[in-house]
Protein backbone atom coordinates (compact mmCIF):
# COMPACT_ATOMS: atom_id res chain seq x y z
CA UNK A 1 0.00 0.00 0.00
CA UNK A 2 1.46 3.33 -1.04
CA UNK A 3 2.35 5.90 1.57
CA UNK A 4 0.54 9.17 0.79
CA UNK A 5 2.59 12.29 0.06
CA UNK A 6 1.17 13.89 3.18
CA UNK A 7 2.13 11.02 5.48
CA UNK A 8 5.58 10.90 3.89
CA UNK A 9 6.03 14.62 4.47
CA UNK A 10 4.84 14.28 8.07
CA UNK A 11 7.46 11.65 8.84
CA UNK A 12 10.25 13.66 7.18
CA UNK A 13 9.27 16.75 9.22
CA UNK A 14 9.06 14.76 12.44
CA UNK A 15 12.47 13.18 11.84
CA UNK A 16 14.08 16.62 11.49
CA UNK A 17 12.17 18.00 14.48
CA UNK A 18 13.22 15.06 16.67
CA UNK A 19 16.88 16.01 16.08
CA UNK A 20 17.77 12.42 15.21
CA UNK A 21 19.15 13.07 11.72
CA UNK A 22 22.88 13.15 10.98
CA UNK A 23 22.07 15.07 7.79
CA UNK A 24 18.79 16.47 6.40
CA UNK A 25 18.67 17.62 2.78
CA UNK A 26 16.37 18.87 0.06
CA UNK A 27 16.44 20.35 -3.43
CA UNK A 28 16.05 24.14 -3.60
CA UNK A 29 14.97 25.95 -6.77
CA UNK A 30 16.95 29.06 -7.75
CA UNK A 31 17.28 31.21 -10.88
CA UNK A 32 20.61 29.48 -11.64
CA UNK A 33 19.15 25.99 -11.33
CA UNK A 34 18.19 23.43 -8.69
CA UNK A 35 20.53 23.15 -5.72
CA UNK A 36 21.13 20.18 -3.46
CA UNK A 37 21.24 21.64 0.09
CA UNK A 38 22.20 19.62 3.19
CA UNK A 39 22.53 20.46 6.88
CA UNK A 40 23.59 18.69 10.09
CA UNK A 41 22.22 19.71 13.50
CA UNK A 42 25.37 21.87 13.74
CA UNK A 43 24.73 23.77 10.52
CA UNK A 44 24.78 23.90 6.73
CA UNK A 45 27.28 21.32 5.42
CA UNK A 46 26.77 20.99 1.66
CA UNK A 47 25.42 22.81 -1.40
CA UNK A 48 25.79 21.24 -4.82
CA UNK A 49 24.75 22.00 -8.39
CA UNK A 50 24.71 18.26 -9.10
CA UNK A 51 21.19 17.40 -10.30
CA UNK A 52 21.72 13.70 -9.35
CA UNK A 53 22.39 13.87 -5.64
CA UNK A 54 22.60 10.09 -4.95
CA UNK A 55 26.39 10.15 -4.93
CA UNK A 56 26.47 13.09 -2.52
CA UNK A 57 23.96 11.37 -0.24
CA UNK A 58 26.14 8.23 -0.19
CA UNK A 59 29.18 10.34 0.52
CA UNK A 60 27.50 12.19 3.39
CA UNK A 61 26.37 8.86 4.85
CA UNK A 62 29.99 7.65 4.80
CA UNK A 63 31.61 10.81 6.14
CA UNK A 64 29.03 12.34 8.51
CA UNK A 65 26.63 9.53 9.50
CA UNK A 66 24.18 7.03 7.97
CA UNK A 67 21.04 8.82 9.15
CA UNK A 68 20.74 10.95 6.03
CA UNK A 69 17.16 11.79 5.03
CA UNK A 70 15.51 14.14 2.57
CA UNK A 71 13.68 16.57 4.83
CA UNK A 72 12.55 19.99 3.59
CA UNK A 73 12.23 21.23 7.15
CA UNK A 74 15.93 20.55 7.87
CA UNK A 75 16.97 23.19 5.33
CA UNK A 76 14.07 25.67 5.67
CA UNK A 77 16.24 28.50 6.98
CA UNK A 78 18.86 28.05 4.23
CA UNK A 79 16.11 27.97 1.60
CA UNK A 80 14.63 31.20 2.96
CA UNK A 81 17.97 33.01 2.90
CA UNK A 82 18.83 31.74 -0.58
CA UNK A 83 15.45 33.00 -1.84
CA UNK A 84 16.19 36.41 -0.37
CA UNK A 85 19.70 36.44 -1.84
CA UNK A 86 18.42 35.73 -5.34
CA UNK A 87 15.72 38.41 -4.94
CA UNK A 88 18.36 41.05 -4.03
CA UNK A 89 17.00 41.27 -0.49
CA UNK A 90 20.06 39.76 1.25
CA UNK A 91 23.80 40.39 0.91
CA UNK A 92 25.10 38.36 3.86
CA UNK A 93 24.15 34.85 4.89
CA UNK A 94 23.45 34.38 8.55
CA UNK A 95 23.71 30.60 8.85
CA UNK A 96 25.63 28.18 11.06
CA UNK A 97 28.17 26.31 8.94
CA UNK A 98 29.39 22.76 9.61
CA UNK A 99 32.77 22.18 7.97
CA UNK A 100 33.76 19.13 10.01
CA UNK A 101 34.50 17.02 6.95
CA UNK A 102 36.79 19.61 5.32
CA UNK A 103 40.56 19.21 5.76
CA UNK A 104 42.32 21.73 8.01
CA UNK A 105 43.86 23.75 5.16
CA UNK A 106 40.57 23.86 3.29
CA UNK A 107 38.77 25.04 6.39
CA UNK A 108 41.36 27.80 6.89
CA UNK A 109 40.87 29.01 3.32
CA UNK A 110 37.08 28.72 3.42
CA UNK A 111 36.96 30.72 6.64
CA UNK A 112 38.86 33.52 4.89
CA UNK A 113 36.61 33.18 1.85
CA UNK A 114 33.51 34.01 3.92
CA UNK A 115 35.02 37.44 4.61
CA UNK A 116 35.03 38.47 0.94
CA UNK A 117 32.07 40.88 0.86
CA UNK A 118 29.01 40.84 -1.39
CA UNK A 119 29.64 42.51 -4.74
CA UNK A 120 33.46 42.40 -4.43
CA UNK A 121 36.00 40.03 -5.92
CA UNK A 122 39.40 38.85 -4.80
CA UNK A 123 42.12 36.68 -6.36
CA UNK A 124 43.42 33.20 -5.58
CA UNK A 125 46.81 34.70 -4.60
CA UNK A 126 45.22 37.25 -2.29
CA UNK A 127 43.14 34.58 -0.58
CA UNK A 128 46.29 32.44 -0.14
CA UNK A 129 48.03 35.41 1.53
CA UNK A 130 45.10 35.96 3.88
CA UNK A 131 45.09 32.26 4.81
CA UNK A 132 48.80 32.72 5.65
CA UNK A 133 50.00 30.45 2.85
CA UNK A 134 51.13 33.12 0.37
CA UNK A 135 52.60 30.66 -2.15
CA UNK A 136 49.56 28.38 -2.18
CA UNK A 137 47.46 30.17 -4.83
CA UNK A 138 47.15 26.94 -6.82
CA UNK A 139 46.08 24.93 -3.75
CA UNK A 140 43.53 27.66 -3.01
CA UNK A 141 42.17 27.12 -6.52
CA UNK A 142 41.71 23.44 -5.72
CA UNK A 143 39.91 24.27 -2.47
CA UNK A 144 37.59 26.63 -4.39
CA UNK A 145 36.91 23.93 -6.94
CA UNK A 146 35.88 21.53 -4.18
CA UNK A 147 34.01 24.10 -2.07
CA UNK A 148 31.39 22.08 -0.17
CA UNK A 149 28.98 25.04 0.19
CA UNK A 150 29.10 27.26 -2.93
CA UNK A 151 27.11 30.56 -2.94
CA UNK A 152 27.05 30.74 0.88
CA UNK A 153 30.85 30.32 0.94
CA UNK A 154 31.30 32.70 -1.99
CA UNK A 155 33.98 31.07 -4.16
CA UNK A 156 32.34 32.84 -7.13
CA UNK A 157 34.00 36.03 -5.80
CA UNK A 158 37.49 34.64 -6.43
CA UNK A 159 38.99 35.37 -9.87
CA UNK A 160 42.37 35.14 -11.63
CA UNK A 161 44.99 37.84 -11.08
CA UNK A 162 44.27 39.20 -14.58
CA UNK A 163 40.60 39.58 -13.63
CA UNK A 164 39.47 36.64 -15.76
CA UNK A 165 36.77 34.46 -14.22
CA UNK A 166 39.06 31.38 -14.52
CA UNK A 167 36.74 28.53 -13.48
CA UNK A 168 33.80 27.43 -11.34
CA UNK A 169 32.62 24.07 -10.02
CA UNK A 170 29.08 24.81 -11.20
CA UNK A 171 30.22 26.11 -14.62
CA UNK A 172 31.36 29.60 -15.64
CA UNK A 173 27.81 30.62 -16.63
CA UNK A 174 26.72 30.35 -13.04
CA UNK A 175 29.76 32.21 -11.72
CA UNK A 176 29.02 35.05 -14.11
CA UNK A 177 25.31 35.04 -13.17
CA UNK A 178 26.14 35.30 -9.46
CA UNK A 179 28.65 38.14 -9.96
CA UNK A 180 26.14 39.95 -12.15
CA UNK A 181 23.41 39.48 -9.53
CA UNK A 182 25.72 41.09 -6.96
CA UNK A 183 26.67 43.92 -9.31
CA UNK A 184 30.34 42.92 -9.29
CA UNK A 185 30.34 42.83 -13.09
CA UNK A 186 28.09 44.61 -15.53
Amino acid sequence: MKVTAELDRRFRDAAAAAGDLDVGYDMVDTPIGGLFVAATPAGLCRISYDPEPERIVENLARTVGVRVLRSPRAVDETRRQLDEYFEHRRTDFDLDIDLRVAAVFSRRVLEELVRVPYGKVTTYGELARRAEHPRAARAVGTVMNRNPIPIVLPCHRVVGSSGSLTGYGGGLDRKEALLRLEGAIL
Binding site: K2, R10, A14, A18
Partner: protein, 158 residues
Protein backbone atom coordinates in the same frame (compact mmCIF):
# COMPACT_ATOMS: atom_id res chain seq x y z
CA UNK B 1 37.23 -16.73 5.32
CA UNK B 2 36.39 -13.07 4.94
CA UNK B 3 32.70 -12.31 4.84
CA UNK B 4 31.64 -9.35 2.75
CA UNK B 5 30.24 -6.73 5.10
CA UNK B 6 26.92 -5.34 3.89
CA UNK B 7 27.30 -1.60 4.26
CA UNK B 8 24.48 0.27 5.90
CA UNK B 9 22.68 2.33 3.26
CA UNK B 10 21.78 6.00 3.86
CA UNK B 11 18.54 6.11 5.89
CA UNK B 12 16.86 7.73 2.87
CA UNK B 13 17.35 4.62 0.70
CA UNK B 14 16.30 2.31 3.53
CA UNK B 15 13.15 4.35 4.18
CA UNK B 16 12.15 4.64 0.51
CA UNK B 17 12.69 0.91 -0.03
CA UNK B 18 10.49 -0.26 2.86
CA UNK B 19 7.95 2.51 3.56
CA UNK B 20 5.10 1.17 1.39
CA UNK B 21 5.39 -2.42 2.64
CA UNK B 22 5.55 -1.28 6.27
CA UNK B 23 2.53 0.98 5.83
CA UNK B 24 0.58 -1.84 4.16
CA UNK B 25 1.44 -4.16 7.02
CA UNK B 26 0.35 -1.62 9.66
CA UNK B 27 -2.85 -0.76 7.77
CA UNK B 28 -3.83 -4.46 7.71
CA UNK B 29 -3.16 -4.80 11.44
CA UNK B 30 -4.63 -1.52 12.67
CA UNK B 31 -6.79 0.03 9.97
CA UNK B 32 -5.71 2.92 7.82
CA UNK B 33 -6.18 5.78 10.27
CA UNK B 34 -4.37 4.23 13.24
CA UNK B 35 -1.69 2.99 10.82
CA UNK B 36 -0.63 6.55 10.00
CA UNK B 37 0.53 7.32 13.54
CA UNK B 38 2.03 3.85 13.88
CA UNK B 39 3.94 4.37 10.61
CA UNK B 40 5.56 7.53 11.90
CA UNK B 41 6.35 5.89 15.25
CA UNK B 42 7.90 2.86 13.51
CA UNK B 43 10.31 4.87 11.38
CA UNK B 44 11.17 7.29 14.19
CA UNK B 45 12.13 4.32 16.37
CA UNK B 46 14.12 2.89 13.47
CA UNK B 47 15.86 6.22 12.92
CA UNK B 48 16.94 6.41 16.56
CA UNK B 49 18.37 2.88 16.45
CA UNK B 50 19.83 3.15 12.92
CA UNK B 51 23.15 4.69 13.96
CA UNK B 52 23.83 1.69 16.20
CA UNK B 53 23.41 -0.93 13.45
CA UNK B 54 26.56 -2.89 12.78
CA UNK B 55 25.78 -4.03 9.23
CA UNK B 56 23.13 -3.61 6.55
CA UNK B 57 21.90 -7.22 6.37
CA UNK B 58 18.30 -8.21 7.11
CA UNK B 59 17.07 -4.63 7.32
CA UNK B 60 13.63 -5.72 6.14
CA UNK B 61 13.29 -8.24 8.97
CA UNK B 62 14.53 -5.59 11.35
CA UNK B 63 12.03 -2.89 10.37
CA UNK B 64 9.15 -5.39 10.44
CA UNK B 65 9.88 -6.48 13.99
CA UNK B 66 9.84 -2.80 14.97
CA UNK B 67 6.55 -2.30 13.08
CA UNK B 68 5.02 -5.40 14.75
CA UNK B 69 6.06 -4.07 18.14
CA UNK B 70 4.51 -0.66 17.42
CA UNK B 71 1.31 -2.36 16.21
CA UNK B 72 1.04 -4.27 19.51
CA UNK B 73 1.72 -1.13 21.55
CA UNK B 74 -0.92 0.77 19.57
CA UNK B 75 -3.54 -1.96 19.99
CA UNK B 76 -2.79 -2.23 23.73
CA UNK B 77 -3.03 1.52 24.22
CA UNK B 78 -6.39 1.52 22.47
CA UNK B 79 -7.64 -1.39 24.58
CA UNK B 80 -6.51 0.39 27.76
CA UNK B 81 -8.30 3.55 26.70
CA UNK B 82 -11.47 1.60 25.99
CA UNK B 83 -11.31 -0.31 29.27
CA UNK B 84 -10.47 2.77 31.36
CA UNK B 85 -13.92 4.12 30.56
CA UNK B 86 -15.54 1.12 32.23
CA UNK B 87 -13.42 -0.44 34.95
CA UNK B 88 -9.87 -1.18 36.09
CA UNK B 89 -8.34 -4.03 34.11
CA UNK B 90 -7.10 -7.14 35.91
CA UNK B 91 -3.44 -6.63 36.75
CA UNK B 92 -0.97 -8.50 34.55
CA UNK B 93 1.44 -10.65 36.47
CA UNK B 94 3.97 -11.45 33.75
CA UNK B 95 5.69 -9.82 30.83
CA UNK B 96 3.78 -10.17 27.56
CA UNK B 97 4.82 -13.08 25.34
CA UNK B 98 6.57 -10.95 22.72
CA UNK B 99 8.88 -9.37 25.31
CA UNK B 100 9.95 -12.77 26.63
CA UNK B 101 10.51 -13.99 23.08
CA UNK B 102 12.43 -10.98 21.85
CA UNK B 103 14.82 -11.51 24.72
CA UNK B 104 15.13 -15.26 24.21
CA UNK B 105 15.53 -14.95 20.45
CA UNK B 106 18.29 -12.34 20.57
CA UNK B 107 21.00 -14.86 19.68
CA UNK B 108 19.21 -16.33 16.64
CA UNK B 109 20.23 -15.49 13.07
CA UNK B 110 18.17 -12.43 12.03
CA UNK B 111 15.74 -14.13 9.64
CA UNK B 112 14.95 -16.89 12.14
CA UNK B 113 14.68 -14.38 14.95
CA UNK B 114 12.21 -12.25 13.00
CA UNK B 115 10.15 -15.30 11.98
CA UNK B 116 10.01 -16.63 15.55
CA UNK B 117 9.15 -13.26 17.06
CA UNK B 118 6.54 -12.38 14.44
CA UNK B 119 4.91 -15.83 14.64
CA UNK B 120 4.95 -16.62 18.35
CA UNK B 121 5.32 -13.16 19.85
CA UNK B 122 2.96 -11.25 17.61
CA UNK B 123 0.78 -14.09 16.36
CA UNK B 124 1.18 -13.20 12.68
CA UNK B 125 0.14 -15.80 10.08
CA UNK B 126 2.99 -17.25 7.97
CA UNK B 127 1.71 -15.64 4.79
CA UNK B 128 2.06 -12.23 6.39
CA UNK B 129 5.49 -13.01 7.86
CA UNK B 130 6.62 -14.19 4.44
CA UNK B 131 5.39 -10.95 2.88
CA UNK B 132 7.01 -8.91 5.62
CA UNK B 133 10.38 -10.58 5.18
CA UNK B 134 10.29 -10.55 1.40
CA UNK B 135 10.04 -14.35 1.13
CA UNK B 136 7.21 -16.91 1.05
CA UNK B 137 4.90 -18.40 3.66
CA UNK B 138 6.84 -21.68 3.37
CA UNK B 139 10.18 -20.00 3.89
CA UNK B 140 8.77 -18.17 6.92
CA UNK B 141 7.46 -21.45 8.37
CA UNK B 142 10.87 -23.08 7.89
CA UNK B 143 12.73 -20.14 9.42
CA UNK B 144 10.40 -20.13 12.43
CA UNK B 145 10.69 -23.87 13.05
CA UNK B 146 14.46 -23.98 12.68
CA UNK B 147 14.63 -20.96 15.02
CA UNK B 148 12.53 -22.80 17.59
CA UNK B 149 14.72 -25.92 17.28
CA UNK B 150 17.80 -23.80 17.84
CA UNK B 151 16.20 -22.13 20.86
CA UNK B 152 15.34 -25.52 22.37
CA UNK B 153 18.95 -26.61 21.97
CA UNK B 154 20.52 -23.47 23.40
CA UNK B 155 17.98 -22.65 26.08
CA UNK B 156 17.30 -26.23 27.08
CA UNK B 157 13.58 -25.66 26.55
CA UNK B 158 11.35 -28.70 26.54
Amino acid sequence: MMEAVATIPPFESFYVEHRDAVFGFLARRLGRTAAEDAFQETFLRALRAYARLEHGRHLRAWIFTIAARVAIDTAQRKRRDDVALEEEPASEDSRPAYLELEHLAEELPPAERAAVVLRYGYDLPYAEIGAALGSSADAARQAASSGIRRLRRTEGLA
